[in-house]
Subunit: 186 residues, 2 copies
């Protein structure tokens, strides 16, 4: 049995198999697209290779369909469930980074107004999409996905505010105080 390192991708596969039970890579792809993929997406090819990797290390079982397409079916093993539990119960995590391509451009001197003009509608759209999902969520959806979605909405709102303030142009607050500030009163 091969030793492998479990990556976030691994836990996504394990977690989805727990939620959905035995699944094909294609089913996993659909699941990712409709849920966790909103804040952590995967290429479809990884949903073929990762379960194979996990199978080689005993975290999931691999079964070939008998009928027609002979697709591959994956399911959690006890070991897989244990690994998932252990991960889930450990509150320690790697520090996340923002890694916003738009921030990178801004950092290196892109024009804030031009950047904002492109970013604002994108974040508006994303925000609207998330809010629609939230408003259409059936009551059966678990807390976890609900909370994650909430964070996504908050983040989009914050990004939107950021770019909107940049677009207003006057980011005086970002410059050190100078004589240009009108003195109130007196």
């Amino acid at each position: 049995m091969q030793e492998i390192r479990l990556t976030p991708t691994s836990y996504i596969v394990l977690g989805l198999l727990e939620m959905a039970g035995e699944s094909t890579p294609y089913a996993l792809k659909q699941l990712v697209a409709g849920s966790v993929g909103h804040f952590w997406s995967l290429q479809h090819a990884q949903l073929y290779s990762e379960p194979e990797r996990l199978a080689a290390a005993g975290y999931v079982t691999e079964k070939l369909e008998r009928t027609g397409r002979r697709r591959k079916l994956y399911a959690l093993t006890a070991r897989g469930r244990a690994a998932l539990d252990e991960w889930r119960q450990d509150p320690a995590t790697d520090r996340a980074e923002l890694r916003e391509p738009s921030l990178l451009k801004l950092f290196f001197g892109a024009d804030p107004a031009r950047m904002a003009a492109a970013q604002i509608p994108a974040h508006r759209a994303k925000l609207a999409e998330y809010e629609a999902i939230r408003d259409g969520m059936p009551a059966s959806v678990a807390e976890g996905p609900r909370q994650a979605l909430d964070m996504g909405i908050r983040h989009e709102r914050e990004m939107l505010r950021f770019w909107e303030e940049l677009a207003e142009g006057d980011d005086a607050r970002l410059r050190p105080a100078t004589a240009q500030n009108p003195v109130p009163g007196e």
Copy 2:
């Protein structure tokens, strides 16, 4: 001359070479750690391999020190500067994803209170660190880094609020409305 694809890593190297002029990989490492690395960090090994890649494609020049350590010195070429400008002037960017390991755990059922207990001090510390940097920033620092830092502060604040509200336990707002809501008045 080899063709290469320019990645975010490439633009970080090009951008820093523009800001700092001719530099060694180690100097780049220091620059990253103190600036852009706060939201987009790189392994030090990449600051050796990436300039080499860029040199092979003509975006930077590579020079060997004569004296002592014979370190490698890199500098922007006209082609490198042009690529940087083109990138910077194009407001289109790939969509960023949150990719928060903590959100992933939450999504898959980790205990919100336990997660919050670990996340809150981490975000408090990060926030304090960013605010200290902002307050100590010399007036000479350009707008870009200033704005990026501002976004970092906003993001940390938002994450902090998120986890604090989760920790308070009452996330009723996330559940669909039910009879449990006390009817005000009447």
